[in-house]
């Protein structure tokens, strides 16, 4: 234990960069306050590595979420120099000479420091029936359901989402209206709607075309620009608008019995 601080002092004597981290503890702070921490600037260090250095060495009270460090778990999303980013995939060197401003994801209630409340988001995800609906036509458990490459390609892109919420943080409509279903949830609905094994499109229509659904989107496109996984939620929403409009016209024109 005693040798370590000396080693770290030598490290920081080399190149370093300032992390300006938003600190907030409800009950203690009236509002978030930025706090500066000097961390080593190493070529291979991500912003998350910088935060881990702060927590391990400088200030153990810092709260933030992370897990995989490889862009898969989706838990390390934060606002870095004003933009929603995965901190494990964002390198400190991008911001040299600094400072690197690290804030919680915008658009969400802050629980503490860099940790935001993800419950509303999880509720939205759950509301689009995000599983294969078979309407009683369940195949036997050991049956295979083969898909052609084309059938797989129809939804594969939308299945790459890691629920990092960067798209919500980037979305100006969500910033105005927290009831908006939002990019990832609609992309997730399309992931199942476009799956040849699924039969749940009609049930999802009632959610996607309702208040807070696709009609709130004005195709700004920031969600797709922010997405670290190439999901293109804006494309999913546009695509579904056409589907929903056609479905609405169909329901409007067809007599009730023929639906």
């Amino acid at each position: 234990m005693s040798a370590e601080p000396a080693m770290r002092a030598a490290e920081t004597a080399g190149e370093s960069i300032v992390l300006r981290v938003s600190r907030y503890l409800p009950g203690r702070d009236a509002e978030p306050v930025p706090r500066d921490y000097e961390v080593p600037l190493r070529e291979e260090w991500s912003v998350l590595d910088g935060l881990n250095h702060v927590k391990d060495v400088l200030d153990g009270s810092l709260a933030y979420r992370w897990s995989c460090r490889m862009g898969i778990c989706g838990s390390c999303g934060m606002t870095v120099n004003g933009e929603p980013r995965l901190t494990c995939g964002t390198f400190l060197s991008e911001f040299a000479p600094g400072p690197v401003v690290v804030e919680p994801l915008r658009g969400f209630a802050v629980i503490r420091d860099l940790v935001v409340d993800i419950e509303p988001f999880l509720g939205k995800l759950a509301s689009v029936t995000p599983w294969l609906v078979r309407n009683g036509a369940e195949p036997p458990p050991d049956a295979e359901f083969a898909q052609t490459p084309e059938q797989l390609g129809a939804y594969k892109q939308f299945s790459m989402c890691i629920n990092c919420m960067l798209c919500y943080s980037a979305c100006p409509v969500y910033a105005l209206d927290e009831d908006f279903l939002g990019p990832a949830a609609i992309a997730l609905a399309q992931r199942y709607n476009l799956d040849s094994r699924d039969m749940g499109a009609a049930a999802r229509f009632d959610v996607l075309a309702a208040a807070g659904g696709v009609w709130d989107c004005t195709y700004v496109g920031e969600c797709s620009a922010a997405c670290p996984k190439g999901v293109d939620p804006a494309g999913a929403i546009q695509q579904y608008k056409l589907t929903a409009a056609m479905e609405t016209v169909r329901r409007f024109l067809l007599p009730k019995g023929a639906r």
Partner: protein, 123 residues
């Protein structure tokens, strides 16, 4: 089907139809307007176009009138939809949707009526 608590001010069963007009207008304008601008703004002035009487006869043809009216109506509704959300989201006036939306689409209706008047009564 009605989702309690989610019935925000923008809940409108006509929303899909407004969006269809919006996207139809964007499509029609993107396809037709550049052609018209190229013809009447560049090619005819520079290279000399068909004589006035001929162009007038083309414009007065019922099919041309209907096509131009269609373009004008769709383009007006495209504008109305875009402008409505520019005001509501851009200026943060979403609460006033009940006022803003009728004004925008009303303006598009008025523009459509004016276009019809020009195309069918004065041309």
């Amino acid at each position: 089907m009605a989702r309690e608590g989610r019935a925000g001010p923008r809940r409108r069963p006509v929303e899909p139809f407004l969006w269809l007009l919006f996207s139809g207008g964007g499509m029609a304008a993107a396809v037709l307007v550049p052609v018209l601008v190229l013809l009447f703004g560049v090619v005819f002035p520079l290279a000399g176009g068909p004589p006035y009487d001929h162009l007038r006869a083309v414009a007065a043809h019922p099919l041309t009138r209907v096509a131009l009216l269609g373009l004008a109506v769709l383009a007006f509704f495209h504008w109305a939809h875009r402008f409505r959300f520019a005001v509501e989201h851009g200026l943060g006036l979403g609460r006033l949707d009940r006022l803003i939306a009728p004004l925008c689409y009303g303006a598009a209706l008025a523009g459509s009526a004016a276009a019809a008047h020009v195309l069918f009564l004065t041309l």
